[in-house]
Symmetry: C2
Subunit: 66 residues, 2 copies
């Protein structure tokens, strides 16, 4: 099953300035972002379809930011 | 420099039902999520500090969802 790597969460949290992050805080972020990818992808699929395409392009993902 | 893996973007987009995703659409999602990790982590650091902790815990990340 596809997941976001927990070590990427930690690295990016540290990059953002965090000094100490609990394991469950990394997992919470992972879970939140995975849900968001699902929501954004479903929206992007609609935008692609609306534009007469089967391929999701950059502009479809970009539109999901609004 | 820490990044989210592009292949994770693709895997999770496929898992959400996408059939075809352009390379730049994966990179756009990657960029969006990395920005979000930064914003969420900075908020979570404030919440941890507010609770008198130096360690970011699950509940700090959870609060950033509101």
């Amino acid at each position: 099953m596809a997941r976001l790597p927990v070590f990427s969460m930690e690295k990016l949290q540290k990059k953002a300035g965090a000094k100490r992050v609990s394991e469950s805080a990394k997992e919470e972020l992972q879970k939140t972002l995975e849900k968001e990818i699902e929501q954004k992808t479903k929206k992007a699929m609609l935008f692609a379809k609306h534009a007469g395409r089967k391929t999701i392009k950059k502009e479809d993902v970009f539109l999901t930011n609004d």
